[in-house]
Symmetry: C2
Subunit: 318 residues, 2 copies
């Protein structure tokens, strides 16, 4: 059943000994929500821990998330934050499937797997919902909670640059910043820092870019050899597909990644008014959204992969 934010707060107030779950490949939103909720519950005298999520990257470790449960913690109530489906549980949480009593989420695709679901699909970040549950419902807020929720809200909006950002997002950020001087540090860490390996991958991707259709189409890629040369890990290569889309004048950016020898993945980011990414990727056996789709081709070399991608794009340009 769905519950309001106030009902969710009431439900939390009446119980104790919580375990908070975050999603696989945890981002700032799910981690910030879990940390903020742990801090808030403890502030009102409850026992609360976050379940150890092995996917936490160095960006978010340290003082952001000092709430991981020890192995012998025996929680009474399971809460999930920012997790749309049980399929997004880390495998370590398998035994908790079917046991989530409260889920707070902002994904319209939420599968209602929890006993109680508090959902606001208009929220740019799940952190916006937690902000209201904590401040208005539980009646607490301090620098620690605010820092965690600022992390949630800022990372899910790319620091207020994505189109999901609303006036509400800005107002919540403003209120949170009143509680402490943490925004500068979080912004520096999350939005103004890139690993040297990441920088080298970006550089190689840009060097590899070939432009077509008067600069409206660009194709670039990162091979296994590039990854090896740079000694890059998967996390260094995350979200690389947004880079070429930023080039002035580009309306369709195809980013190729060699996953195994001769096995290439295409990530296509487009202005859908110019090129439908779904239709283009469908020609290569893939799919996705109109502005962001993907496909995979096996047993091809780089030149052949580029040729197939360009052909699919040009066929859809008509």
């Amino acid at each position: 059943m769905t519950v309001t934010e106030n009902e969710a707060a009431g439900w939390l107030s009446e119980r104790d000994n919580f375990l908070i779950l975050t999603h696989i490949r945890p981002d700032g939103d799910t981690l910030g929500c879990a940390a903020g909720l742990c801090a808030a519950l403890r502030k009102i005298g409850k026992t609360a821990y976050a379940a150890v999520n092995p996917g936490v990257t160095s960006t978010y470790l340290g003082d952001i998330m000092p709430y991981f449960a020890s192995e012998d913690y025996a929680p009474e109530h399971i809460v999930a934050v920012d997790i749309a489906t049980e399929g997004l549980f880390p495998t370590e949480f398998d035994r908790l499937k079917g046991k989530v009593e409260l889920c707070v989420d902002h994904h319209p695709s939420n599968t209602h797997y929890a006993e109680h679901l508090c959902l606001d699909a208009s929220a740019a970040a799940c952190g916006e919902i937690l902000y209201r549950i904590i401040r208005d419902g539980l009646g607490v807020m301090d620098a620690e909670i605010a820092k965690a929720l600022y992390l949630a809200v800022s990372t899910d909006t790319g620091c207020f640059v994505y189109t999901n950002t609303t006036p509400t997002t800005h107002r919540i950020a403003a209120d949170l910043m009143e509680y402490g001087d943490f925004a500068g540090e979080i912004n520096k860490r999350c939005f103004q820092t890139r690993s040297r390996k990441r920088m080298e991958l970006e550089s190689r991707l840009l060097q590899s870019a070939r432009y077509y259709e008067d600069g409206k189409v660009v194709i670039g890629g990162i091979s296994m050899q590039d990854m090896k040369d740079v000694q890059a890990s998967e996390s260094d290569a995350e979200e690389l597909s947004s880079l070429l889309r930023q080039v002035e004048g580009v309306k369709a950016a195809a980013t190729l990644r060699e996953l195994k020898d001769g096995d290439w993945k295409l990530s296509l980011r487009t202005d859908p008014a110019y090129l439908n990414a779904t239709d283009t990727c469908a020609l290569l056996g893939g799919g996705g959204h109109a502005a962001a789709s993907g496909a995979r081709q096996e047993g091809v070399d780089r030149t052949e992969m580029e040729r197939r991608v360009l052909e699919a794009i040009q066929e859809n340009l008509g």
Copy 2:
């Protein structure tokens, strides 16, 4: 004399036929303030134009600034926005020196050159001050004004990422966004678009980077030949010095630019707790702030320039 925001609004209300000045190498703040003020003054029945600033780049042209005055416009009152000193007038405004009657600004270094100065040094952007003058003082606001002021506020804070961003900045952004659906377009244009030449310069700068002191110090550069190869203009090379500072673990980033054959400029960006940029640049005859300084060396080749910069850095590291 200094005036309050209300007094500035009163002064504007009592007069007519304004010319608004913007600063040299105009950014989103000065242009957004001028456009917003023109739109607001026209909305209350006044005649107002912005003085033609030849330095406007393609990012800001178009619908952002449709208020440039024709040559035969004869203004009665001169207003400057976001201009700290007359030294920052474009040369085309030379004849207007000593004639500014009202200056609205947020630079603490403002030289009080105007007859009336409305200054708030706590504002992240001059647009924050104009927002209050226009909404509270002149009593108007609409999508056109709000879009111009959002441009001002967002660009001067790097889209709410710089440490100058305050809760007030976020609240003003929230209020402005209520008036129209413009933030996504401005964010895409100003923060998610880079020219192909810019991308190529960034790529070359990253490729040139050499790391020292366990990766805490980085030195990279762009030569005349790089600029020529890429056919880049000065605007493509703006603010390149922030790039290397973003590399994870870097505490001192030296970006070198060859301005003329054998004439190199250093831009040094540091964590001042690790390295004082002023002291380091002073060894090379330059200066600036503790976290951001510069220096110039003539008659050197790239290798010698890099050697001098590294030597100055290491001398200051002690």
